[in-house]
Each structure stands twice: as C-alpha cells, then as structure tokens.
C-alpha cells in the first residue's frame, strides 16, 4: 500500500489527520507539549478582545511555528458576527483559513445551519478558506460544498461531551457522498472514537477537550495520534465484512485426536 497518503485541504497537503484545539489546558506549557505529541499540523485558536486589566499570557508564544493556525469564530451567534471575526483575524495577520462556528445555543452548543451557510458563502466570496462546523446533515453538507467550503466538519456529539460517534449513521452518509474532506469535529472522548471515525472513512478528526482534560494530556495526545493513524490505515486496508456465524481460523481437518 502506498504510504504517501496526505490529507489535502484546499490544495494544501498535511501529513497529520489529527487537528487539535488549544482550549482547556491547565497551562500553556502542557498545551505546547501535547501539541507536539499529537503531531498536529492544524491547530485552532479563538479570537477575543484583550482585557488590558488582566491580559494574561500570550498563547502565540507557546504555539509551534510550523503549524497552520486556524482561527475559529467561536462566540459568534450570527453570520454577520462570524464574518466580522474572520475579517478581523485575517487583517491582523492570522491565516485566511477559518473554522466557521455560528452557535446561538449555549446549552448544547449546536451550530445554526442557516447562519453557517450564509456566513460560509460570504467568506468564500471574500477568498477565505472555510472549514464549517455543523450538525451531521448530508443535505447541508452538499450546500456547503456548492458554495465552496474547503471541508465540512460534522460533530460526533456535543462539544466537550466526550460521548463519541452518537450521530454515526448521518456521518456515514456524509462520508459516502463527501466531495471535500470530511472532518469529524467535537464530541470525541477517547482514541477509540477517533479510530472508529477514521475506519468509517472520515478524512480527519478534530480533538480538543479529550486531550486537554485527560489525566496526562501529553500521553493522550500521543494516543489520539496513534488511533487516527491506525483508523486511517485500517480504512485504506479494507475492513472485513461482518458475518453472523462463526468461521474457524484454524483448519477443520487433521485434528490430532482424529482418525
């Protein structure tokens, strides 16, 4: 099997199929080590006003130079707010890639499909590379592809819930019909969840809380890296079909106690 198997988003190649977030780490030092252990080449950040009374540490001093920073539009509840946030980030020197999140719902943090599609169309028009975060909705996926999104990123379960692929059947349909990379984003709690998504044929996964809140985030980052690699390799290798009856692995004939 050809070992050259890059993730290609908007014409750019990445070796790693594990995207990671930078939120919820106890310290930026731990975050830096975990990012390195994850092997991630795409790392998300949020954008917020500076509190001049308590500016705190500057995260960018702890981020590797050789990763693509992916600013998100978290905190935005409408298309207009998301477009404004993306424009601000790009003007200030961040990449023109954007993880588009439009989330009006504080309890389950579920994205607004109508506003997300509106914002995506506008941002593509303005030459952004748009990676929208969505509920697993195969119809919405097609519409986002039509307006020119670079990926579609369905959630596995609510953000930070760690519940795994609760919406696997819808994600499976999206995998089948994807014309741009499909990234499973949010809700993955364990490396086995990430492996399952990759075995199903997802092109990549995005993980934050499951690594940042693990007992040992650096070790967990490594575990997710391995799970994503294993899941991808298994998908490419071709997983056997399930059967309802047993099928012996050893020869049936010639047993020692036989005739």
């Amino acid at each position: 099997m050809n070992t050259h198997d890059p993730l290609v988003i908007a014409g750019r190649e990445f070796r790693s199929r594990l995207l990671t977030g930078t939120g919820k780490y106890d310290t930026f030092e731990t975050m830096r080590e975990a990012l390195a252990a994850s092997g991630s080449q795409i790392v998300t950040v949020a954008v917020r006003r500076i509190d001049f009374d308590a500016p705190g540490e500057d995260i960018t001093a702890f981020l590797p130079e050789d990763v693509l920073l992916l600013p998100n539009t978290s905190g935005c509840e409408t298309a207009e707010e998301a477009v404004r946030s993306a424009r601000l980030a790009r003007a200030g020197g961040l990449p023109d890639w954007v993880k588009l999140e439009v989330i009006p719902d504080a309890r389950y943090l579920l994205p607004d499909p109508v506003e997300t599609l509106r914002a995506a169309a506008q941002l593509v028009e303005e030459d952004f590379t748009v990676l929208p975060y969505v509920l697993p909705d195969p119809v919405l996926q097609k519409k986002l592809e039509e307006v020119g999104c670079a990926t579609v990123m369905p959630l596995a379960a609510p953000i930070g819930s760690g519940r795994g692929l609760k919406l696997r059947d819808a994600i499976r349909i999206m995998v089948e019909q994807a014309e741009v990379p499909l990234v499973v984003d949010a809700g993955l709690g364990a490396p086995s969840h990430a492996a399952e998504a990759m075995e199903m044929g997802a092109d990549a996964v995005l993980v934050n809380t499951a690594i940042a809140r693990a007992g040992d985030p650096v070790a967990m980052a490594r575990a997710f890296r391995l799970a994503v690699e294993a899941g991808r390799e298994a998908h490419r290798a071709g997983i056997m079909e399930e059967g309802s009856d047993a099928a012996a692995s050893s020869p049936v004939a010639g047993a020692i106690h036989g005739a």
Binding site: T44, V45, F52, S74, R87, G92, L94
Partner: protein, 68 residues
C-alpha cells in the same frame, strides 16, 4: 491636537498624530498578533504604522486565545 480614543470600551488619551502601532506599543501589545478594528473596519497589519488615530476613534483590539 491630542485627544481620546476608545479601546475595547475604555477611553485612552492619544497624542497628536499618534499611530496605531505606537498606541499598541504603549498598551503593551507587542505580540505576534494584535488584531484591530477601527470604527468597525478591520485594519490590515501592514498599515498599523501608518494609520494615524483621530480624536473619537473607536478601536477593538483582540488577539488569539486558547480555543477549540
């Protein structure tokens, strides 16, 4: 003429002809990324040193923070 600008909702004095870059420096925002909106419009980073602030300008100054 000196004056005042509003930065993230708070008034800041600015000197005559003070540039955006000088204000950011004075506010201690010398980091890799300071993201600025002036009167509702994003300002290109390459223009920070040439944009001269005017009395009454309203600025949003943001930066990347941890997030997923």
């Amino acid at each position: 003429m000196s004056g005042h600008v509003v930065v993230n909702g708070r008034e800041q004095p600015v000197g005559r002809g003070e540039t955006l870059a000088a204000l950011l420096e004075r506010l201690g925002v010398g980091a890799r990324y300071a993201l600025v909106e002036r009167n509702g419009e994003p300002v290109e980073r390459a223009r920070y040193a040439e944009v001269r602030l005017e009395d009454g300008d309203s600025l949003v100054v943001a930066r990347p923070v941890a997030g997923g």
